[in-house]
Symmetry: C2
Subunit: 123 residues, 2 copies
């Protein structure tokens, strides 16, 4: 099982370009710090990304993994850190990335931007 | 090279649920028909998908493939068919899914909803 949470570290979340650190960087740092403090599934990684093209509704993260549905979530801030890790852990326990609706954190239900099916098997 | 264009066939594009066929289904059918008439790259497939969770800006398609950046595009309709196939063909010729900005069709520049990096290589 390999699951990645990409965090857009370039996100300004509406602030001006001189803001340092950027909102996306702060979210990434907080997620990485929280991951060090708690158990997350083996094979789950948090990785920096440059722009997930969801600038109007940042901050943004994406969950993906081989053979799984991928999800992009937006409208995120530092208050979302614990729910993001809990939601990612639940995602990691599935075979295909599909978590039953009632088991998704509210930030996932309300903040989903898009999802992409896994690539079909080669024929 | 294996590249998939998932087309959300459940998209209503703002119409009511009784509309048959749905706007997403009509877009899929038009893309499949256009693909039969023209050359598209080997390994490029158009596949039906159920809801890409971009309902506010449908119709929607997603481009993805192993080891590539994935993209979700919205605000699409039947007039976009030729540009979608041209853009997908250009995407398929890249190694990593990143097409230079100036070579992207306008519908890709204006209609991008989100993108997701390829999964990192296992360590």
């Amino acid at each position: 099982m390999m699951v990645t949470m990409h965090v857009c570290v370039t996100c300004l979340a509406g602030k001006d370009r001189e803001t340092v650190p950027r909102a996306g960087r702060r979210l990434y740092d907080a997620l990485a710090e929280a991951q060090r403090r708690q158990d997350t599934p083996p094979g789950f990684r948090i990785v920096e990304a440059e722009c997930l093209s969801n600038c109007n509704r940042g901050c943004s993260v994406a969950l993906s993994g081989p053979g799984r549905w991928s999800y992009v979530y937006g409208d995120l801030n530092l208050a979302a850190v614990d729910d993001l890790l809990a939601g990612a852990s639940r995602y990691a326990t599935t075979e295909d990335g599909l978590v039953p609706w009632r088991e998704r954190p509210t930030i996932f239900r309300k903040g989903v931007i898009a999802r992409i099916p896994p690539s079909p098997k080669p024929v």
